[in-house]
Subunit: 145 residues, 2 copies
């Protein structure tokens, strides 16, 4: 049986869904970048090293905690090292530990309140029905294939 084209209404919903998180993410990332020069991925990496590792975290653990593959993280860390944000240190068992530099720590500390304020500002515009929907959809789309 032939698949009918998407209706105008279906397209409207699909477009809204596609852009909803992306727009929010871009806005928050811009605030952080203006305040500190950190990109979104920079901020994510620094936060986790600080929180999970107390400033010193196994690279593989870091990758898992972000849901990134090892290659993506390796490339990102290479760029962050060039920017002076992190240091890498080989240890036993082929592992690599990631450490914040002083500059990385300082920028993270500056970025955190900006991030929190900006995320909270977005979330404050949502009512409880909208929040429920977001959590439900995220769960139902995250499951199965």
């Amino acid at each position: 049986m032939p698949t009918k084209p998407l209706s105008h209404q279906e397209l409207r919903i699909w477009n809204a869904l596609k852009h909803i998180g992306q727009d929010a993410l871009v806005r928050v990332a811009q605030g952080i970048a203006e305040a500190t020069g950190l990109s979104g991925p920079d901020f994510g990496v620094l936060s986790r090293v600080a929180d999970l590792g107390n400033g010193d975290l196994r690279q593989q653990t870091l990758a898992e905690s972000m849901g990134w593959d090892k290659s993506r993280l390796s490339h990102q860390l290479t760029r962050m090292h060039k920017r002076g944000l992190i240091r890498r240190r080989s240890v036993e068992d082929r592992a690599v530990m990631v450490t914040l530099t002083r500059s990385g720590r300082e920028k993270l500390d500056s970025a955190r309140p900006v991030h929190a304020a900006s995320v909270r500002n977005l979330l404050d515009r949502l009512n409880s029905a909208q929040i429920d929907s977001i959590l439900q959809i995220s769960e139902s789309l995250g499951q199965d294939k």
Copy 2:
């Protein structure tokens, strides 16, 4: 006044919001890629040239209809030209017209039902309250700064 860190619940909502559209988008794009070899951006460009331009569209009009800047579109068209999907033709007034090649048209035709089925499959999982929320949030985040 100091900004309080985000609570666990705030983070949960923020993460759901960030991933909700991205995950859906990736899933739909993968289906199209498997069936036709077209990427998401390829499919978007081809669809619009076919629909708005009847197979022949001014580059600037195309960029506006996608919400892309001219540079992004130019790079994308260069790649699509290398893949044999489109042709460019200079016309009066410094403009450039974009045309589908036969291969571009054929792949678009193959991709359309896959795209429609896959989007519809996602949307069918949403109840009307969730759809309302999506449309509302998209509107409220799309506004103001």
